[in-house]
Amino acid sequence: MTTLLIAEHDNGSLKEPTARALTAALAIGGDVQVLVAGKDCGAAAAEAARLAGVTKVLHAESDALAHQLAEPLAALIVALAAPYDAIVAAATSTGKNTMPRVAALLDVMQVSDVTGVVAADTFERPIYAGNAIETVQSPEAKRVLTVRSSAFKAAEAGGAAAVEPVDAAAAVAAGSAFVGAEIARLERPELTSARIVVSGGRAFQSAENFRKYLEPLADKLGAAIGASRAAVDAGYAPNDYQVGQTGKVVAPDLYIACGISGAIQHLAGMKDAKVIVAINKDPDAPIFQVADYGLVGDVFTLLPEFEKAL
């Protein structure tokens, strides 16, 4: 049995979900080969070859693959798919854009958001916005799987696989074109990969308060800032702060929920955090059900004390 893992990278280096998805791919059993498809992505391919457990790296170079857009990348994967029993990618923005297209082109049912590998053909995955876990068996001869990377540990370095160039002619630059990226200037760690996340809800009552009380704390802790949907909808925090939204599943070592009651979508986005501290005025708030430590009180009194004590 051989699995093809699709690497997520920025051409220069691998992104962290790749090493995590590798752990899931190895759990399926058999050989794992990695596809690094991009433009001038030799460094990322070399990095993939150093991951422990990888038997071969396929290195595809093409102008059309520079931004890993769905159409050329999916076309390449389909062209390479024949010898593989499973095709695996992390459930990231790129994976979400590309893999359902691959599955439909191969005419197989994708198993999405895998959080556990029970057997080579049996997987656990969250459904109903993360409030239930489904165990599914896929009898397909070729399986297309996407992996919730926060559910798996990153595979370690220590491998020395061969890097083999592959023909990227299938990746035709038809369809969408990349116009430009806009990167919000990040002064803090990135939300989905931060070790500590400080998150705020409606209790802050204004955008000014949200910043005034959360930013100093986040700065002191080297933490990313997150927000509940209520805080985003009320305009206290920008859209991309929202935890529980598309792609925003966080699993930091420490999650500090400030004035967040714990709507089901939010809980689905953060309950895998190792330790959760919740601060809320309402002792019956649902957030306390998933928290490890609960502090009943007002964010405006507790947060300054907390920051002072640090």
Partner: protein, 258 residues
């Protein structure tokens, strides 16, 4: 431009999930249905495009309970036409992936050159519908779109969101498929009189011209994850519990003060 918007009704589960007898599905007996939140944004974006550049908007749904009412609401919101698509009886709701061939065939028949749908739904957290529609139709596609700008009539430029505050502008030639995350503007309020007017409209029902994709993935078990036991609650003065929580976190080596 003819925009087809794909709407889906989803189980309104709130916080409670009851597993049905047999342990493979939720208990649907008392579950309410609601319009998928992201599909609502897709509809809003379609109507927004209609207002700024002129377009025909057709809303479609796979027929079933509550569908006529949802499509009447879409008309009241500003859609020009609506269709419910009848598919052969199947057990239970049709998943996003399974409806792909049916929806793709409808797009071709209606002559749509832009298909909008929600980026994801509760039963499809991953968001398979837009990318798999793109594959079946052979059209380009983009997921997690937060705004759509028409260019010269033959292309559109969309803002695609990635995680970590990164977004990219992507230009797609028409026809194309988009999975919408947020509309460019807030979802409009529909007045009662407009709604009442739309409720009188009968929504044409058309037969599907493609078969539903049969799921060959078998559900072995559905379960609700174990609830954690609840938090250790800290009581007392603000400064006392602030010190206490810091000590607890420091003991677990969780703090690295910058």
């Amino acid at each position: 431009m003819h925009i087809m918007v794909v709407l889906r009704l989803v189980a309104d589960l709130g916080g409670d999930i009851e597993i049905a007898h047999g342990g493979k599905d939720i208990d649907r007996e008392w579950v309410d249905l609601k319009l998928n939140e992201f599909d609502d944004h897709a509809l809003e974006e379609a109507i927004f495009l209609k207002e700024i550049v002129g377009a025909k908007v057709t809303a479609i749904m796979i027929d079933g309970d509550g569908v006529e009412r949802s499509l009447q609401t879409a008309l009241a919101r500003g859609a020009d036409e609506a269709r419910r698509i009848a598919v052969d009886d199947t057990d239970g709701p049709i998943s996003s992936r399974a409806m792909t061939p049916v929806v793709a065939a409808a797009a071709a028949e209606l002559g749509a050159d832009l298909v909008l749908t929600g980026v994801q739904s509760p039963e499809d957290i991953f968001g398979q519908l837009a990318p798999s529609l793109g594959a079946v139709l052979g059209w380009p596609q983009a997921s997690a779109v937060s705004s759509v700008k028409p260019d010269d009539g033959s292309t559109i430029t969309v803002q695609q969101e990635y995680s970590g505050g990164v977004s990219a502008a992507i230009r797609l030639p028409l026809p194309a498929v988009l999975g919408v995350q947020t509309a460019s503007r807030p979802i409009r309020y529909v007045t009662g009189s407009k709604l009442r007017q739309a409720m009188a409209e009968e929504i044409p029902r058309i037969e599907a011209t493609a078969a539903v994709a049969m799921p060959d993935v078998e559900i072995v078990e559905l379960r609700v994850p174990d609830e954690a036991g609840g938090a250790v609650m800290l009581d007392g003065d603000a400064d006392a519990i602030a010190d206490e929580i810091l000590r607890l976190l420091a003991d677990r080596a969780l703090l690295q003060v910058c």
